[in-house]
Symmetry: C2
Subunit: 212 residues, 2 copies
């Protein structure tokens, strides 16, 4: 009835062939290229490439932390679900649905996403943070680090939306050097669970020798 | 350090105020407007509105099935994770990681996503299908229905990507009337777990009287 490719390896290979063809990868490093291509793959829009930003040592720092099995901290369950299971030993952490978080959020009249950061505190050191949804989580993380909290090895900060998303990512990009943290971000309103998880997955794949 | 909105109700209200302002909702019905606004909310791009397509009775048929607690069938775990838990009684179904599916996929040299459809068969009647990832799952579903499988009440078909995604959604749109199925789709390469889950969530919210 329809003529379509059913072989998963062929689909993946052809996808990344097209993505490489359609995407301006400029003078990105090999690891940065993998991240950008996975981001494009997850949203279907080659043009997003121009909005991706990497701090100087972001990929290297993230890959080292992932290789060492450091915690992966996710703002929402969809991000956690999006991290490629076969490439990690311990499940990523997400505290959004912890009853403590609901109580804290209510108490402070703030989002659960930012209240959850209190439970991140003891896991932050050398972690890989993946924020795909909540601007408030990203803002709060930056505040915590500025106030002396342990530093993640990498912040993948890609909340999506209309209120605070673009602003939180611009803030991350503006202050990362001053705070001494590595980051990957996607400026503007676009972002989400899929792009942020895809960025982390790209680094995991680099560690596993799977390059496209 | 930063000035940002932390009240979740205010964030949501302001988000949808901006989305309504920025999005061309044309002559969409109230329920269709909710779906389009949730799609825009999930990707951060008002312009996607022009690529959303609804079959004639799509929203009504989907809302009725959801209100009756019919199965929600998801192609991947991220879609399942994205369905708003507080609005459903039974968890959505996703068979992608079932060992039977891995075996079937290997045997037929096809994607696990399409092999999983064999396990959907007994749940299809009056279900709400939410496909956010795999073009092969959408193609296979259309083939199964053409061959006489039970019909879902609604197909939300929004796979993302470069190989087969746009084609599978165009196929859904082209044959839905002939097959006698209701559908919501997002033409072109864009799509994903978030937009497809958001579309289903919009209908759940309509049923719960939460209109933006």
């Amino acid at each position: 009835m329809f003529d379509y490719q059913v072989d998963p390896q062929k689909i993946e290979k052809e996808s990344f062939r097209q993505i490489r063809l359609l995407t301006d990868l400029g003078d990105l490093s090999p690891a940065q290229q993998q991240v950008v291509m996975r981001i494009v793959h997850s949203v279907g829009i080659p043009e997003v490439a121009s909005e991706v930003r990497f701090s100087e040592d972001a990929c290297n720092s993230g890959m080292k932390a992932l290789a060492a099995g450091k915690p992966i901290l996710c703002d929402v369950e969809m991000v956690k679900q999006g991290i490629t299971k076969r490439m990690i030993e311990l499940p990523p952490l997400c505290f959004l649905n912890d009853p403590v978080v609901a109580r804290l959020a209510k108490q402070h009249a703030e989002t659960r996403s930012m209240a959850a950061l209190e439970l991140w505190r003891e896991h932050l050191s050398e972690s890989v943070v993946v924020i795909g949804n909540a601007p408030t989580a990203l803002f709060r993380l930056l505040e915590m680090i500025a106030q002396g909290a342990d530093k993640p090895a990498l912040i993948i900060g890609m909340p999506v939306g209309f209120v605070g998303a673009a602003e939180s990512k611009q803030a991350l990009w503006d202050v990362h050097r001053q705070l001494g943290v590595e980051c990957i971000t996607l400026l503007g309103r676009q972002g989400g669970s899929a792009v942020s998880a895809a960025s982390c997955n790209a680094l995991l794949r680099c560690n596993h020798g799977e390059w496209y």
